[in-house]
């Protein structure tokens, strides 16, 4: 086991355990929403659990998983040791310490503020300080990634950066730009306020900083999944990447457009003018473009794989793909779920239509397809592929690993479709109980919340299978030599014009200019309004 492997493995285990805990809580939530009278059911426990589930999935599982994958990509795609491995360990422990502080604050019942922690709900200071440490740890990871790239660049002056690393660097850049917002929110507003050093906080300013961070956050999750779709999936399916330069174009477009879009989460907020919301909307719609391109390239790469496996007809290449390989099936199924999620996303982003779905169950249906499937299911597939390589052990219980992605797919369809529909029927999200005193419209949600609970049960079973395979492999997998991590070859090597997409400094500068254009004036105007802050509240 190399030293990089050990570092990646440490991050991977934290991610997997966070996912396991979060899934157990999710089961209770899904059942509770169906108004089942469970003995230990209470509002206090429900909201505490949603806070833990949201934080552990959206912030902890994803961040640690991405750090693990990033280290593997940096070491293998660049084919040189990491530059700054000690910093990598320091970052790991910092992020872990932060995570433990956040979890302790939540489980002790003093931080039931959900993972969005909108003030003036006030959590225990340990929650905000822990979140800060988690982010500071991730910045250390960014530094290791950038230093490794620089070191490689000095040794390879003219070669294009390997595609997998190109995508990870885009992830790093987006994360660095995005986290400025949440760092400002937490350090300048919330920590002093939660410690009693300042009296009030402006909730709109805090929300604006949060969503400045919150949308690029989704690309921080998604881009590593795209790296896998472009550079790992084609290889695992037995083929080649259809187009290397277009993949680079995609990553660059995400760098440029990820951040100046945050107002699409604040369409329903007062105090931000409709004109600026429209500007963010237009940016948001253009960010669909790189995902359309991705769909083409990835499907074309799968077709290449099918033909290399001997298919000749129009569609029989689909049949020849290795559907029993848990990496391939996880990723392809996650892409199918993402297609539905993308459609819903276009609705969310549509200025006027958003009013119908904002903060309804539709939203929770939506993000379980995107982060909860496109990202999480891809990551589960990656874990099946990576864990043996990192530990030198064969995958244990591999039958469960083969079934698990299909189970997730079915469970998620039931869960998310029913939530989309109840959302359109007016059911809010984030509620412990959906009965509303027997109101007629609430009665119309009942059958669907039941269906959603069934979906939740299947998802829970699927998550359980995943955890059994992980823990089984880690503890009892048979030691055996494993194939090295390798990335897909492109059909054609990137030509000289692709070099434009490698100029990441240039694209970062473009991104920063757009961010200033999108946020500069609205922020100045917000700060100039006569505003009244809010004192803290802890209604939990």
């Amino acid at each position: 086991m190399t030293r990089t492997h050990r570092l990646a493995l440490a991050n991977l285990w934290v991610a997997v355990l966070a996912f396991g805990v979060a899934s157990a809580m999710a089961l209770m939530q899904a059942l509770s929403r169906a108004n089942l009278e469970l003995p230990w059911r209470s509002a206090k426990l429900y909201y505490l659990s949603v806070t833990a589930h949201g934080t552990l999935t959206a912030l902890v599982f994803t961040t640690f998983f991405i750090m693990a994958l990033g280290y593997v990509v940096a070491a293998r795609a660049l084919d040189r040791p990491l530059a700054g491995e000690r910093l990598g360990w320091l970052s790991f422990w910092t992020a872990l310490l932060g995570t433990l502080a956040v979890v302790a604050a939540i489980l002790s019942g003093r931080a039931t503020v959900l993972y969005t922690f909108y003030p003036p709900l006030k959590a225990h200071p340990a929650f905000y300080i822990g979140a800060t440490l988690l982010i500071v740890g991730s910045w250390g990871w960014c530094a290791v990634m950038l230093r490794s790239y620089r070191a490689w660049r000095r040794e390879n002056l003219s070669a294009p950066v390997p595609l997998a690393m190109h995508g990870m660097l885009a992830t790093v850049i987006i994360w660095l730009i995005a986290t400025v917002g949440v760092a400002a929110e937490v350090l300048l507003l919330l920590i002093p306020w939660s410690l009693g050093l300042t009296r009030t906080v402006d909730p709109l300013l805090a929300r604006t900083l949060f969503w400045y961070f919150g949308h690029p956050l989704v690309y921080f999750w998604l881009l590593p999944a795209y790296v896998v779709w472009y550079t790992v999936l084609p290889k695992a399916a037995g083929g080649k990447l259809f187009s290397d330069p277009l993949a680079r174009l995609v990553f660059v477009m995400f760098i440029v457009l990820s951040t100046p879009v945050g107002f699409h989460h604040q369409f329903m907020d007062p105090g931000i003018s409709a004109g600026w919301k429209l500007f963010h909307t237009v940016n948001t719609l253009w960010i669909l473009f790189p995902s359309f391109v991705t769909a083409f390239t990835v499907i074309a790469s799968l077709e290449v794989a099918g033909r290399m496996r001997g298919a000749t007809g129009l569609f029989d290449w689909i049949k020849t793909l290795p559907w029993g390989d848990p990496l391939v099936s996880s990723v392809v199924l996650s892409m199918l779920l993402f297609a539905i999620g993308g459609f819903g996303g276009a609705v969310n982003a549509s200025f006027g239509m958003n009013a119908m779905v904002h903060n309804t169950a539709w939203v929770q249906g939506h993000f379980h397809l995107t982060v909860g499937s496109a990202v999480a299911l891809t990551f589960m597939g990656v874990a099946y592929w990576l864990l043996p390589k990192l530990t030198g052990r064969n995958l244990e219980l591999d039958l469960l690993a083969r079934v698990q992605p299909y189970l997730w797919f079915v469970g998620m369809l039931l869960f998310s479709v029913s939530n989309h529909v109840t959302g359109l029927l007016g059911m809010p999200r984030r509620i412990y109980d959906a009965s509303y005193g027997g109101s007629a419209i609430a009665e119309s949600w009942r059958a669907l919340t039941g269906l959603s609970a069934v979906g939740g049960l299947l998802l829970f079973a699927s998550a359980g299978f995943f955890m059994l395979v992980m823990i089984g492999t880690g503890l009892a997998g048979k030691k055996a030599p494993q194939a090295a991590v390798e990335f897909a070859e492109p059909l054609e090597p990137p030509g000289p014009r692709a070099a434009l997409f490698d100029r990441l400094g240039l694209w970062t500068a473009v991104a920063v200019v757009l961010v200033i254009a999108a946020y500069g004036y609205p922020l100045v105007r917000l700060l100039a309004m006569p505003r009244f802050g809010s004192p803290p509240f802890t209604p939990f």
């Binding site: 105090g271 919301k277 200025f351």
Partner: protein, 163 residues
């Protein structure tokens, strides 16, 4: 950079779809004035119940016949909890919070806004038909969040149905 024919077609098609989305939104915004509630007005949250803009909360019909509804949200109730408005006429809702962040949604419709302490949210909605609607808080506001509910009762326009 060598981009295949099908790929080019696909990319142009994707760009065209997005351009259509942008166009539809632009038309609905500028020609039909469909836009999200974006009113900018501030208010001291601790004093909303004493502020003339919200005291008392309720339905106000001015001399010109314009209907305004003033609603205060607080943990865990709507003031007033029963809102009577006429059908077929634009109704302007003005909503604020006395404590934490809430949401105001007339369930099953697109009458929806965030309600932040310190700010007044405002939007206009026309109920076409008489009937009763559930109003919910759609932003988590504490352990009683799911208990926050109110009613909008839409009455037939004056002069109809024996009124």
């Amino acid at each position: 950079m060598n981009v295949g024919l099908y790929e080019r077609i696909w990319m142009w098609a994707a760009a065209a779809i997005i351009a259509v989305f942008v166009g539809v939104i632009a038309v609905s915004t500028f020609a039909y004035a469909v836009r999200p509630p974006s009113h900018a007005e501030t208010i001291a949250p601790a004093q909303v119940l004493a502020d003339p803009r919200f005291s008392p909360p309720g339905v106000v019909v001015d001399a010109g016949g314009n209907v305004e509804v003033h609603v205060v949200l607080l943990m865990f109730a709507f003031l007033p909890a029963e809102i009577r408005v006429p059908a077929g006429r634009p109704v302007t809702f003005r909503v604020t919070s006395a404590d934490v962040t809430h949401g105001f949604q007339i369930s099953g419709t697109n009458a929806n806004t965030m309600v932040l302490p310190g700010y007044v949210s405002q939007f206009t909605y026309t109920f076409e038909h008489p009937g009763e609607h559930l109003v919910v808080c759609n932003e988590y506001c504490g352990l009683g969040h799911h208990t926050m509910q109110a009613k909008v009762i839409v009455e037939p326009p004056a002069g109809e149905a024996g009124r």
